[in-house]
Symmetry: C2
Subunit: 555 residues, 2 copies
């Protein structure tokens, strides 16, 4: 990289995806930067708020994610000569060369980022990030910051919602890479689903990049690739403790299969099982005797997959190994999981195999919030869910509307009006607080002007809806948490928040979700969490609004 800027080198790595460069932005950020520069305005100090207007998925909460990647971009924000040459090519030839020299020296050393910590539960209108700096530079940051935060927060929220429905005790596996919106869609999905509360991913690249636990065993193709038991040439298997060797593991499995078939309690459930499937299971067990998990629905779950699995699992058990379990990838997952569980329990009892009834059951196949909810209502015996398409593409709502609005320039507050009140921006450089009640739940988020005194513990404070004058409430906070922290101090000398590991962010996120009042979190008709402004900020917003709105002329 022939970066030419002279910005701060504070040892923060660049973004995970090397394609995230200062060119990953909209062309109009460069045309505007040029127009600012040409008008001598490029260094005017601007403050932009990054926020969203509505929680996704019909819910009343959002998980904030993507911050670390933003800071990594900002810390390394410099143009290479190659990039500058391309920008020059892309702008009209009349553009003065001085502008490109300006880009050469440009970095984010004069930009300040205050943000809510990654993994926090967040709400509409409250800035997730306040970006302050020379207007031309901050403008260039708009698109990449939105790109890095929009999908990250959307998919982390989706993961948290899936966790909420599945329950805390279930293992949740993200299996979405093949259906994700592009390779990075896949890698980001794995990262932010883990952050939002998933336990593992199938995505090996994401496992390597972020230390996310990996899961996966075999597919239908593996089962179909076997024709018969004759294909298994190496048939011996050492016992788990190494003390003896079973010379013909295949025979041992076949013996167990006969016992199962003759069992009084299981009798009549199945006849001839599929022999290619059996060959595949045995081969897989020979390769992974300590990690035997079989996909049991290639032919017929109850008449072939389950008996074949159990025969192999019992043969393994005889050698001291404990099978992990099965995966169901089609059919009625509630019914099949219950039937499989019954089968396992009968075996535990009839053949006196301790804990065989607890053999793990993983389910996959187009799962989403609704199907998890339906499974819960029907009753099921699934221990782990593998979730792909709906999770990673956020099928129920594939985009979050995070926006980036100018709220102050040259110390002058700015407001963006709109016929649609929900689209009016909240002006001024602001501070934001979360106020907690006596039961420990967050009660309300409040925005104040930069220089207002912060809300005080135990003191009554008036919280006003920013646009609806009749909605207001007094709150006596038992705890006050300032939400916006400094993540990039520019030259301000303020101390910089550390960027924690993804594991710590995940823990924080789970904790944040746990501390919410349950009625904000429920799937159907959740209670909106309150977002407010101080009385002083309320008055100022409405003063500015009147001032800026054109007075109609009846002509």
């Amino acid at each position: 990289m022939d970066a030419v800027g002279n910005g701060p080198k504070i040892g923060i790595d660049g973004p995970t995806n090397p394609m995230v460069t200062p060119l990953l932005t909209d062309l109009y950020q460069f045309t505007m930067a040029y127009a600012y520069w040409k008008a001598g305005k490029n260094n005017e100090r601007a403050v932009f708020d990054l926020y969203f207007r509505r929680n996704p998925f019909g819910g009343e909460y959002t998980v904030f994610a993507g911050l670390e990647e933003c800071i990594k971009l900002i810390a390394n924000f410099r143009f290479t000569e190659d990039e500058i040459a391309f920008i020059q090519e892309s702008l009209p030839p009349s553009c003065e060369v001085g502008f490109f020299d300006y880009l050469r020296g440009l970095d984010c050393s004069d930009v300040e980022i205050h943000a809510i910590s990654e993994g926090f539960v967040v709400f509409p209108k409250i800035p997730l990030m306040r970006v302050e700096g020379p207007v031309a530079v901050v403008q260039l940051l708009e698109t990449p910051l939105l790109t890095l935060i929009n999908y990250a927060s959307l998919v982390a929220t989706n993961a948290a919602r899936h966790r909420f429905v599945a329950g805390k005790s279930k293992l949740l596996l993200e299996f979405g890479l093949r259906r994700a919106q592009g390779p990075d869609g896949g890698i980001s999905a794995s990262k932010y689903c883990y952050m939002g509360g998933f336990d593992a991913t199938s995505n090996v690249a994401a496992g390597k990049l972020f230390g996310i636990p990996l899961r996966g065993t075999h597919s239908h193709a593996f089962v179909s690739s076997f024709m018969s038991l004759d294909e298994i040439t190496e048939r011996s298997l050492q016992s788990c403790d190494g003390s003896n060797v079973c010379e013909d593991f295949v025979s041992s499995v076949q013996t167990w299969l006969s016992k199962l078939k003759l069992s009084y309690l299981l009798g009549g459930i199945f006849g001839e099982t599929n022999q290619s499937e059996l060959a595949a299971f045995i081969s897989y067990a020979l390769a992974f005797p300590k990690n035997f998990l079989a996909l049991v629905d290639t032919y017929d779950v109850m008449r072939s997959g389950i008996p074949n699995f159990c025969a192999v699992a019992l043969a393994l058990n005889g050698l001291g190994y404990k099978a992990i379990g099965i995966r169901l990838d089609s059919g009625d997952l509630a019914y099949l999981s219950c039937e499989s569980r019954k089968f396992f329990r009968v075996i535990e009892k009839e053949f006196e195999v301790p804990d065989f009834g607890k053999t793990g059951i993983t389910a996959s196949n187009d799962l989403n919030e609704e199907t998890l909810d339906a499974l819960n209502k029907q009753g099921h015996e699934v221990d782990a869910f593998g979730i792909g398409t709906h999770l990673v593409t956020c099928y129920a709502q594939p985009a979050l509307g995070v926006v980036f609005k100018l709220v102050e320039i040259n110390n002058q507050p700015r407001i963006k009006l709109s016929e649609d009140v929900s689209k009016v921006s909240i002006p001024c450089k602001k501070r934001c607080y979360r106020l907690y009640g006596k039961e420990g739940y967050p009660l309300v988020d409040i925005m104040t002007g930069e220089n207002e005194p912060p809300p005080k513990l135990g003191e009554r404070i008036l919280c006003r809806h920013p646009f609806n004058e009749s909605k207001r409430a007094f709150v006596v906070p038992k705890r006050v948490e300032e939400l916006l922290k400094c993540f990039w101090p520019g030259r301000s000398g303020e101390s910089r928040e550390e960027l924690p590991s993804i594991q710590l962010i995940r823990e924080r996120c789970i904790e944040q979700l746990n501390q919410m009042r349950p009625d904000h979190m429920r799937r159907l008709n959740p209670t909106p969490y309150k977002v407010s402004v101080s009385a002083k900020l309320y008055d100022f917003i409405h003063f500015l609004w009147l001032n800026e709105a054109p007075v109609g002329e009846l002509l």
Copy 2:
């Protein structure tokens, strides 16, 4: 890169996104590879088909995209030592080290890829790609190939559908980067929307990577960042031909604004326009006198934005410059575009400015197929559409279900059964043809066994529905096009298809879409395009099906 394989070096660059590596796959591909290796099966020759089962967006066609990235991955498919170490860490410690030596030597020199050409219109069940090679290697390719093709084809199809509704004469701009599913979602979207028929993108990185034309001017923030005309200090502007200089362009604009206000025909349409907006427009025009395009809805389109724009455009016109136009980003786009057009036409007439009535009108704001269709029905005057969120996230259907199924191993055809007939796979290594009728339209796609003679021009051939015995038709093709071509010959010595430029693929795609019979393409109730198998393949499928399906036992 410390790649350790010894594969073919034929000078194909790696994938665009450096994160696309052999690790971008599901863990189970490695566990299966190990199990194949352990069973001595890893080099068994397998054939997999990559296809989808249903066209997206309720339509009856799909654009095939993503092939070039797949070939780039395959051409460079080798593990680094670092990656092998990670795989070893991720698999159970009992895995034998010989397997990792095997991975060290692994590449795709023994893999053969036959595929439909990128940019072709494609249909369900027909393999988009046939991947043949050692089963363990081909299995490792499954996830990355699906990841690279699923979203690419989905978003290219979405772009083609938007083009279809917008009409050929409109300029279509992709503005989706900020809402895309991650940075690569954004870059892939720009690439494949261009391929599917868009004209330009706002995404600078995509412009640089793929040579896609770039578009963009300014945002609302640019308008809000100005307070008054006093901010404009450098007020002179040279005429377009360089022959004279207007010393006070601001005054010239103000003079035009007064003229507009006094105009008999425009009289009464507007009063005082917003001065910050005017200052922003003038600054933008001073920076880009040849490329003046203004966003006119920050305050009030008809009472401020349009008059301000026209005053600046007319002042530019006086200096020999021609303004490009306006952008509308909110409100009733049909109404506002028609009113703006009227305004421009009055000016053309009243002030005798040739072609002013044709000033460009760009519209944006949450556009999708439905809103474009509604605009057409209402009547509008928009020349260019900027489309973001709905286009790039494929909001109407955010995932395509491309799958990868084993159809043959060791020359033995394999079938994957399912209770759901639409999920039964079509076995055998196959050839695929598109048969054209006498009017030049494609009539039907047909799959045959690898060794069947190809359909002959002018000779009657029976085309059968693969699963419905009563659906069959005789076709006498006027043209026969073999669909699967060799893109990666492995060691077969077959000649390799070239990878054309994205511009050529885009042209091919547009041509392909144009040659389809119109009833397959319409938005509502399109006619399904027929996909068939030869009589011989039909018989074989059903023979194999009966052979594999378990005979129920009435127990």
